[in-house]
Symmetry: C2
Subunit: 104 residues, 2 copies
DNA sequence: ATAATATGCAGGTAAATACCTGCATGTCAA
DNA sequence: TTGACATGCAGGTATTTACCTGCATATTAT
């Protein structure tokens, strides 16, 4: 997993919206996805390209249509690498700050 | 939680590195954190400001020093909102793509 | 075949981003 | 109190990003 690509892909609200749309209904075409966005088709294409480069979305050509599918694996990897680690130490990390605020 | 701020904060490798450093040793000063980065102090300050604005880091002044503490809560929120959802449907989402690739 | 449809590709621009330098302020210690 | 140290603040620049318009290509349906 290229963590940088995944995080950068997730940094844009339009791209998070696209993932949400695909989660609602997987395998949508570019056109279908565009219909729910307030921007030119070409802009959406770029966003989908970034999601695909991050491996968050896989595509399949179906005649003249391009179907988009979510790939949940990178998100799971993000969890494993980034959230779980801090999650595990969650209480102790908060404890550090609390102690500092209380003046040791 | 301001999801956009959190995701944008996580989108930069330097900022992820800073979070890692604080996870290793919580409550470090600006100077300590800078020592491990290959950039000017002022640049690091900006990164830490972004992390603080996203509520991923909290700070406490201690005389002339500024101590930085991780706040793991937003990361947990990201998990709840973004990862868990896709995680739950992980297998079914992959199934969609597999079926499409196999020609229905 | 041809028209309508779905997508691809090539630039072009304005705003955001990640750096930097230079100087100011505040705190500690001798 | 004065010098050293830790951080704050104000710009300035080069790159990246998120849009756009215009045109090309490929597929389906009449």
């Amino acid at each position: 997993m290229d963590a940088d690509k995944v995080f950068k892909a997730l940094a844009d609200p339009t791209r998070r919206r696209l993932l949400d749309m695909l989660c609602e209904k997987n395998g949508q075409t570019l056109g279908q996805l565009c219909d729910h966005l307030d921007m030119a088709r070409q802009s959406a294409t770029q966003h989908l390209g970034i999601l695909e480069a991050a491996n968050l979305v896989s595509t399949v050509r179906h005649g003249r249509e391009k179907l988009h599918f979510i790939n949940p694996v990178p998100l799971h990897d993000v969890y494993e690498r980034w959230v779980k680690k801090f999650e595990h130490r969650r209480l102790s990390l908060l404890h550090d700050l609390k102690q500092e605020l209380e003046g040791e």
